[in-house]
Each structure stands twice: as C-alpha cells, then as structure tokens.
Amino acid sequence: MVQQSIGESVLRKEDQRFITGRGRYTDDINLRGQAYAAFVRAPMAHAHIRKIDVSAAMAAAEVISVLTGEQVAEDGLGALPCGWMVHSKDGSEMKQPAHPVLAATRVNYAGEPIAIVVANTLKAARNAAELVEIEYEEIDAVIDPRLARTSPAIHEDAPANTSYNWELGDKSATLAAIESAAHVTRISLVNNRLIPNAIEPRAAVADFNPGTDELTLYTTSQNPHLVRLIFSAFVQLAPEHKIRIIAPDVGGGFGSKIFVYSEETALSWASMKLGIPIKWTAERSESFLADAHGRDHVTEAALGLDAEGKFVGLHVSTIANVGAYLSTFASSVPTYLYGTLLAGQYKTPNIYVEVDAVFTNSAPVDAYRGAGRPEATFLLERIVETAARELNIDPVELRRRNFIQPADFPYQTPVALEYDIGDYEASLSRALEIADYAGFPARKQASIALGRKRGIGFSCYIEACGLAPSQVAGSLGAGVGLWESGEVRVNPTGNVTVLTGSHSHGQGHETTFAQLVASKFGISVDDVDVVHGDTGKMDFGMGTYGSRSLAVGGSALSSASDKVIAKGKKIAAHLMKGDADEIDFDDGEFRLRESNQSKTFQEIAFAAYVPHDYPLEELEPGLTEKAFYDPKNFTYPAGTHICEVEIDPETGIVDIVKFTAVDDFGTIINPMIVEGQVHGGIAQGIGQALLEQCRYDEAGQLQTGSYMDYCMPRADDLPSFDVDVTSTPCTHNPVGAKGCGEAGAIGSPPAVINAITDAIGIMDIEMPATSERVWQAIRQAEGR
C-alpha cells in the first residue's frame, strides 16, 4: 500500500485533467437548446437614464428577449446585498444604497449592466445589444476617493458619498501616547487600486426547469452555497431548495469570484422567465470593467516611539474607496480585515484606526487576495521602516525591539484580536540567514562600483486567517456563520469519497484534503477523492476565501474522520469480541489490545455495509460521517519577507535580485502546494508594488481596460524566490494549520517598496513603483 502522509509533496491529483485539457470549466458546459446572453452596459460613469428603447433589439434576428431593470422591478426582485453590517462611530448603520440587478434609472459606473439580451446565438445577442437605444443625461463623475466626501451624492441615501465612518481602538489614549512620544513618524500613502484578473473570466449557464421549478446555475464561484443563499433569501429568485449552484472547475478567483454579481443573477432570472437554459461568458474587457476591484486606500498614519525605540501608539486614518455600490463583502474588508491587523507582530500598546468608506463612480471594490490585510501590512511595515530610518536604527533591530515574544502568547492586541501563537524571531532570523543580510553591504558596494543602486527591504507581516469564529464574526456584523462542513463517506470496498463545503479553484484541495483524510485512515491518497462545488451534493458550506479552507474545512474533515474511526472501533470490537475502548487504530489497522487480532480498515468498511455479523441493535450500518467545524479563533500566519533590488539609475528599472520569504503556516500538509501558493502570492504582491494600477480618467472611463494598458506581472518580471518555513502549529484547530493562500500577496509589497526607497535613499515612493517613478525619485534625491 502506498501511503502518502502529512508533510509529503504529493503531486496534485487534479493536474492530470488540467494539463491534458480535460478540466470542465463553466464555459465547457453546453446544454441542449441553450441560448446566449449579452449585456448592455453603461458607456459612461454617471448618468440618469431617461429612456430605454429595446424595440429594435427585440425585432432583430434570432433574438429571444431583451430584459431591463423595469422587468426586474415588476418581478419584485431584491437588490444585491452586502453581507456584513458595519456601524459608524455614532452607532448608526452603514449606508447601503440599493445595488440593482440591472440599472433602471441611473448608472453609477462605466460598465454597469443595464439590460440583458437573450438570443439563439452569441453573435445575435451581441449584435442586438448594440441596438438597445438608451437616452442618458450625463452627471459629473467622482473617481478620486479624496474628493468623494465633498462631491455631489451619487446615492440619495448616502450623504457625502459616505457609507460609514468606522473606528476601532482607544482614540484618546493613542493620541496621548503619540503626543508624549520621544519621536513621531508620520506617513501618507496610497494603496493602489488593482483589477483581479483570474485567468478564467466569470461565466455562467443558468438552467431553469419549468417542470420541477428548479433552477440550476453553473457558475464560476468560490462559494456556491452563498450564491444559493443570497439568490433565495435576498434576491428572492426562488426558494433555497429549488436552487442548485454548481461551481465546476474554476480557473482562479483571488476573491473576485466570492461575490454575487448582477450578471449571474440577471442570467438566472432570465432563464426562469424564459424557461430556457442561457449561457454567458465574460469577455476579458467585461472582467476589467465589472469584476470587483481591490485595495484603493488613501491613508495618513502616525507612529509614536519612546526613547528606546519602543512603539507607544499608532494612529491611522484611512479613506477606502468602495466603488459605486457595496459589493457582497465590501464593508468588512477595510474594517475588520484591516483595522484589526494593525498591531502586526508588534507590542504597540495603543492603536486607533478610523476608516471612511466612500462611494465613487467606479466599479465596486471588494476582497482581493489578502483583503484588508495587505493594506494593513503595507501601512505598518512602511511606517516601521520609515521610523527606523528617521531614528537611524537598523530596521531589523527596530522590529526586534518591538516583537511580541513567544512567552507573550496568547497575546491580546489593542485592536480586538487575540493571537494564539507565533515565533516572529524564528522566521526573521531564518530569513536573514537565507537573504545573507550580513553580506549586503559588500553587495551594495559592488553595485555602486557598477553605477547601480542596491537596496534591501523587510516586511514582517501577520494575517488573520481561517475565517472565522461565527460568534465573533456575528458580533462584528457578519450576516452569515463562518464554519465549514465536511463529510467522509467510506465506501464498502474501503476507498473514500470526501465532500467539502470549501471550493478549490487552483488551491489543490483535491490533493491536500485527500492527503489529510488518507493519513487519518492509513490508506493511499489514490483511494480518496474529494468532491466540492455543488450544492446538490454536499452539505451547506461557506466556500473558499481568506485562507480558510484547510484551517476550517480541513478541520471539519479531520473531525468527520475521527467519527469514522470511532465508529470503526465499535465495529472492530464486535468482530474481535472485545470492547471499543480496547481497540487501537493505527496505520490502517484496528487492533484489539493485548491480543494478536486485528482488522484492516477495508474489512471494517465492508462489515459496515454488509452487516451480517454486526451489532445492529446498538449501531446503524454504513460508514459515513459528517462534521461542521466552527473555529475557536482566527489563525495567525506570520513571517518575514526580504527583498533585495538593484536599480539602473539611467532608466529607473528595478531588478529584484533576491526575494526571500520565510513563513509560519503552522502544520503543512503538502509543502509543494504551499510553496506554489507562496510563489503566486509574491508574484501578485510584486505586481502591485511595481506594475499594476487600475486607472480611470476624470470622467470615469476605465483607461486600463486591457492587457495593453493594465500590466500584470509576467515570469520575466520576477526573480526565483527563496522560500522556507518555520512552524508553530495553530493551537486551536485539530490540523494545526494556519492558512497560506494570501501570505505572499500580503507580505511582499512593503518589502519591495522598502528595498527601493532604501536603494535610492528616500523615505517614500508610490506604488506601483514604475521605472519612471523610480527615475524621477532618483533625480529628485540627487537634486537634478
């Protein structure tokens, strides 16, 4: 028997189908009699809709129907909800202007869907979409979040274009601490707006069966059950038990496929209305316009330090751009996923953060890989670095002076979180060793001799993952529970089918979860298959985001596996004429203690389903167990990233010559998969730091609407990463895992910017640090 246990880099089970072209993505699904949809989108960012005339489009060849917001209203559909209630400083609820399925009277961002055209062919649908005549009365647009509060209100029910002004922490204590500090470092920064760009664009096939009143939606979702819940409870499309959401193979999400969007909702409604299956696959240009964007913060911060360089207080004021509407989880990102992380790895006693969430005439902004935590980390690691330079203290030394020490855990931060465990010195010192910090001065001299500039930058990040203890989340405004479900079905022949409520869209769950369960039972990974992404197959689940799948979903599977073993012991005890508590289970064998008797896992499985010799009076047949796991706390992955750059002062081109990441993810099931996650995250972080910028012009037209203008990181932009791990297993989940999906994107941007500013000898440079920005900064620094 081949046994692949926890900690082995088992090759990914799913890759066979992916690399041989046998994956089954949403666009691969074609149903008999399927029609196609195209969307009519707002050509400008802000306008009243005075008239919509669909007659020419309706009359066009092959067109089945053209539906608008007027029909949405007639059918009594609800608006798209935001699932997290945030309260303002004065206790009032956040302003949540209606987010319409189709805009009927007003458009608030360029690309907002106005009508859905359904036709027999895709081409006919697209051609007819151009025939929908709409009269607009244009309104001035506001794009810059700094101007939002003083611009005319986009939504009547959100004065000053503000959804909420939220705060966390003790304001007066923080201000007093900074007031009396020996040194105060102040920074202002922008966290640049990003467009997610999963390789597979959003797609959906809606199939309503008028015979059963059942709606099946195949869609690119990270959390199919949430789509079902929102469709039934909020949009009120159909009762929950009449909706089945299937998220088949999904080609990347990075957060952008968490949310319930207009297009998939309108498509489902149109299928119900017309009684036919309809398909929509986004063009890449639609993804740029209408997928939820990420980041987009403007922040001022002050860090007070005492004479010994200990942090005494941190004060943060942020304006967060939420776009034209509050998307599904938009309100939680710049608040509970941001402000709560501002302690970082440090024992700062006083922290206060206030966030104004503002509406602008841009696409909605929501969670994007890291979601709030990259923004917190960027701010903190930039201000710590700046303080070190102002005080002329080695940036490593300043961090060390302020680290929370291993003996301090559990550590209660001043911003709500209680860290269970960590060892920040361990990851820092390992990273310093790999990065050869000691050799840096010599390398810098060598670069200078060649007329180049060299710099080194650090980032000691922490994140809160494993979303989330439901009661804590609920008390903070979450509209849902954040546990996960898992089911372990042992088949009569002893192989296993695992069902999980989390969803894999590139993360490798089919391998990691199989390894987890296989190692529990002492069987081969090949004998465990993982099923996910279909509300018709598994229990309710909460999906995948926030690096939660292994910590929460894996814990559910661990618990379910334990239940299988417990039942197996009872069966084994019966068969071997012993007592259940005299049975040991190890390495796939149930053994009766102090005897030479044993039964294999497969024998017990068979006995459970063929219960001829079985304690039927006490035990039900079958060997299937399920568990719902609600985490006791967040998990706290942490680590150190070190970036070393060399800059050509003539062009401003930044060459990342070395990038080191040492992460503490707790227990690791599959090191290869974890390393892949770290690589991808760092690539995205470097993309944010050097290349990516979503730009609208002043009128609200998206200027970066294709890869000609929006710069994604490519392999030749990136160095070979040096990646290692340290480990302090999570104390409160049975797997010991903390989560690894977002760390790379969280830790890397400040390391890159700290390295660039170190090389040039300046305090700040805006992201993305393009070659022109770097060149200008060098000229300025040299007084040219």
Binding site: K123, N127, E283, S285, E650, T651, L691, R695, Q703, T704, Y707, M708, D709, Y710, C711, M712, D717, T770, S771, E772, W775, Q776
Partner: protein
C-alpha cells in the same frame, strides 16, 4: 466581431481584384493587430482577403546588396534566420523582441509595416536602414512611406510584396518596452555606414522619426560622450499614462547610448 466575407485568393492579382470589388476590404496577413481589433468591434471590414495562400510572398534572401524579406515572412522566421544574421543581425534582435512567441509565430513583417503602429519596431529599422518597400505596383522609400500615426503612403488596395534593406557596415536595435504591452515605449535603431550615422526612433512620438541631432553628433564623434548634450524636444514626445514626455525624451538618449555600446 461582426460578420465579414472571407476570401483566400491564390495570386496577388486576384487579391487586388477582390479588394476592389469589396465595399470595405482589408488584407489579412498575420492578423495580430487586425483580428483583436475586430474582436472588440473597433474595426469592421466587410471583406477580409487572406494572403496566406498566395505563393512567393514570404522568404528571406540576399540580392545585389540588399537583404530582401518577403511581406508574409513571420517575425519568428526573421528572428531565427541565418541569412539575416549574416546580413543585418540587428533585424534578428528586433524581430526576436516583438510581442511573445505566439505573436512572433503569426505576425508578419508586411503586416507590421503596413499597419505603421507608432510603437511598432519595424518602422525604426526601415527608416534607419533606408529600406525600400516593394509593393505590387511600385517601390516606396522608407522616408516617404510613413505619413503619420497608422498612416502610410500605401494606396487603399496596394499590397506590400517585400522589404529591401540595403546592407550596412553595422546596425543595432535597442528598445525600452512598455511593461504592459511590450510594444516600444522607446526603440532606437542605429546604423553606421561609412562616415554616416542614422538613428531612427520609434514609440516615443506620434510616428517613427530620424534624430538628426544624434546623427550629426555621432558622425563627428561616435561615442557616448557625443550624446551627453543631446536633448530631444519634449513637446514632440508622446505623453500618456505609461510614460511622460519628459521620461520618453530622456529614454531616447539612454537607449541611444545603449545602442552605441553594442557597436564593437
């Protein structure tokens, strides 16, 4: 993409005839600009005349002091050609830096030259090398070929057959790619021939241009120090979200220095 009529003629004469018979025809070579712009509905020709089946439009040869590259020759063929390497190796470098492998395996020199994108690479080579564009009806000198942004001296139905590049002593091409599109933000093609130096710059302005200041300075003193005091007119430079006019003007000099350093 809108509907269009597709034609696949087997001779140049038939292609031109089809062009004239159509409402709004376009010749299709590699299609790497045309097809994407049709897909996003920015272009809507009624007829596409695919040149792929016309024999003799591709190929690379050296004839009477010229390197002649057929219009339908793919970028990859130019990038890897031994004939090019012996004649004008700078064109191997230039073609090998266009787009990515997929683009180079489809895109053609004729398509690129006819499209005359202000950020394309080939126009710099044509201008600096004093190339001749041979069409189905005449020869056009590079100096007369480019008439503006995406504009050329080609008549509506005129088809490029080949480009003839006169052999030179030494030439090189250096570009600063736009990080997103990888088109030239600034591309400098430099030629040294006898006592003459020719410098053509693409990507920086509304169209490819010769930088006579650099040429004069380098003709007198073929060294980096000759470029020290060259300042390009910032007002003539493109200014957009990818690079300011000031940065582009600066990069022209930096790229020229890099080009210079490649001459042995």
């Amino acid at each position: 993409m809108y509907d269009f009529n597709y034609h696949r003629p087997h001779s140049v004469a038939d292609a031109v005839k089809l062009f004239r018979q159509s409402d709004d025809a376009m010749y299709l070579a590699g299609g790497h600009t045309l097809i994407p712009s049709m897909k996003v509905r920015l272009r809507a020709p009624t007829d596409l005349i695919d040149l792929a089946a016309i024999p003799g439009l591709d190929g690379i040869s050296e004839e009477s002091g010229n390197l002649v590259i057929g219009a339908f020759t793919r970028h990859d063929a130019v990038a890897t050609s031994e004939v090019v390497r012996r004649a004008i190796p700078a064109l191997n470098i230039l073609a090998g830096g266009i787009g990515d492998a997929q683009v180079r395996n489809r895109g053609t020199i004729g398509g690129s030259v006819a499209n005359n994108d202000p950020a394309a690479d080939y126009p710099a080579a044509l201008l600096a090398l004093n190339a001749t564009v041979r069409t189905d009806r005449r020869e056009i000198s590079a100096a007369e070929f480019s008439t503006g942004m995406f504009e050329t001296a080609l008549e509506e139905d005129e088809m490029i057959q080949s480009i003839a590049f006169p052999l030179v002593e030494a030439a090189t091409y250096v570009k600063f790619p736009n990080p997103a599109s990888r088109y030239a933000m600034v591309g400098v093609f430099m030629v040294r021939q006898g006592g003459e130096v020719r410098v053509a710059i693409t990507g920086a302005a509304s169209g490819v241009f010769r930088c006579t200041d650099m040429e004069t300075a380098l003709a007198a003193d073929f060294s980096a120090s000759a470029l020290e005091n060259i300042k390009l007119d910032v007002h003539a430079m493109n200014d957009d979200m990818h690079a300011s006019a000031e940065y582009r003007a600066h990069l022209c000099v930096v790229m020229a220095k890099q080009a210079l350093s490649k001459f042995s």
